[in-house]
C-alpha cells in the first residue's frame, strides 16, 4: 500500500491542485497570512498585504519549493524604464504590449489606458502564480 501511495503522489505532483497547494504554502510562509486567505482570486498586494520587498522572498521560496529557476524579470516586471515603454511613470501602448509578451500569465485586461507601472503589481493574483509555475514545470 505504501508503495502505491508513493507512486500516486509522484505522478500527481504537477497537477494544478498540487501546484496550488504549494503556492499557497509559499505565500503563507512569505507573507505570514492564514492559509484560508490565500484563495485563487486573492491579489498579492491588496488582499494578502504583500510589499515590494516580499517579491524577492516569494521568488526565492518558489525556486526552492518547486526546484525551478526564475530569471530576473520573468515573474515580476523589471526593466521598464525604457522611454518607449514608459512615460511619466505610465506604460505606453508599446509598454503594455511588451508586458503582455513578457508576462503572458498576467491578465492585463483590467488595466486602464496608459496605466501606471506600479499598478501592474496590483493585478497579480494567487492563480497567476499557479499558472506561471505550471508553465515552468511543464516546460522543464
Amino acid at each position: 500500500m505504501g508503495q502505491v501511495n508513493l507512486f500516486f503522489r509522484e505522478e500527481t505532483m504537477s497537477t494544478h491542485d498540487e501546484i496550488y497547494e504549494k503556492v499557497q504554502a509559499t505565500l503563507v510562509d512569505a507573507l505570514g497570512v492564514d492559509e484560508g486567505d490565500v484563495t485563487p482570486e486573492a491579489t498579492l498586494f491588496n488582499d494578502l498585504g504583500a510589499e515590494s520587498i516580499d517579491l524577492l522572498d516569494i521568488v526565492f521560496r518558489l525556486e526552492r519549493n518547486f526546484g525551478i529557476k526564475i530569471p530576473r524579470g520573468e515573474l515580476f516586471p523589471e526593466n521598464v524604464s525604457d522611454p518607449e515603454l514608459t512615460q511619466d511613470g505610465k506604460l505606453t501602448t508599446k509598454g503594455v504590449d511588451e508586458m503582455k509578451a513578457r508576462l503572458p500569465f498576467v491578465d492585463l485586461s483590467g488595466l486602464p489606458e496608459n496605466p501606471e507601472v506600479d499598478k501592474l503589481l496590483d493585478l497579480y493574483t494567487v492563480d497567476m502564480l499557479v499558472k506561471y509555475v505550471a508553465t515552468k514545470l511543464n516546460n522543464a
Binding site: D29, I53, D54, L56, D57, V59, F60, E63, R64, R72
Partner: protein
C-alpha cells in the same frame, strides 16, 4: 558606541557558511537597561549579530561589489535568553544567492543549545537607486565591521594557510577554514 555585534569569526567559508562569536559583557551599556538587575541580551541585537554575520557572508560572495541591505526577517524564534558573561555562537548558512539578493539561515547557540533560529532575506540594492538613497558609501559594510573579517583572514593566513584554524568556544574546540581573499 560601535555598531559591531560580533566579536570575531571562528569560521568563514566563502559563499557557504560563517560562524562568529559574541561575548556579552557588563561593560555594554544596554545590558544595564535591559533589564535593570537582570542583564539580558535583547533579541533584536542577537538578530543584528546574525544579520552582520550573514551580511558579510552575502557581501563577500560578490567580493563586496553589491550593496547589501537587510530586507526582511521572515522567521525569528527564540528559545531562551543570554545574560552578561555568556558567549553566543552565531552560525549562518547561505541558502540562496541571486543577482537581486540572498537568503540566510541563522542560528544562535548558547553552550551548544539552540537559542535562536532566524531566517533573513538580504537585498542587493540597485546601484543607481542605492546611490540616491544612501550615497556612494556602502550601506552595510562599514570598515569597522569588515575589520572583523580581515582579522579572521589575517589570523588564518598567519597561522597555517588553507588549514583549519582551531579556536575554543564554550569549552569546545571548533575547527574551521578562513578563506583567503580572492
Amino acid at each position: 558606541m560601535r555598531w559591531i555585534w560580533i566579536d570575531k569569526f571562528l569560521e568563514f567559508r566563502s559563499g557557504e557558511f560563517a560562524r562568529a562569536i559574541k561575548n556579552l559583557s557588563l561593560a555594554e551599556e544596554h545590558l544595564h537597561d535591559h533589564y535593570p538587575g537582570y542583564p539580558v541580551m535583547p533579541a533584536s541585537l542577537i538578530i543584528e549579530g546574525l544579520a552582520q554575520t550573514g551580511g558579510i557572508l552575502v557581501g563577500e560572495a560578490s567580493n563586496f561589489q553589491e550593496k547589501v541591505v537587510l530586507a526582511k526577517i521572515p522567521k525569528a524564534e527564540f528559545h531562551g535568553v543570554a545574560c552578561a558573561g555568556d558567549q553566543l555562537v552565531y552560525e549562518v548558512t547561505l541558502t540562496d544567492l541571486r543577482a537581486e539578493g540572498a537568503v540566510v539561515q541563522g542560528k544562535a547557540f548558547l553552550q551548544d543549545e539552540l537559542l535562536a533560529d532566524v531566517e533573513i532575506v538580504f537585498a542587493h540594492l540597485d546601484n543607481t537607486r542605492s546611490n540616491q538613497i544612501f550615497g556612494p558609501k556602502n550601506f552595510v559594510f562599514t570598515q569597522q565591521l569588515l575589520n572583523v573579517l580581515d582579522l579572521a583572514k589575517a589570523r588564518g593566513n598567519a597561522s597555517r594557510p588553507s588549514t583549519p584554524i582551531t579556536e575554543v568556544t564554550n569549552g569546545q574546540p571548533v575547527d574551521g577554514v578562513v578563506t583567503p581573499p580572492a
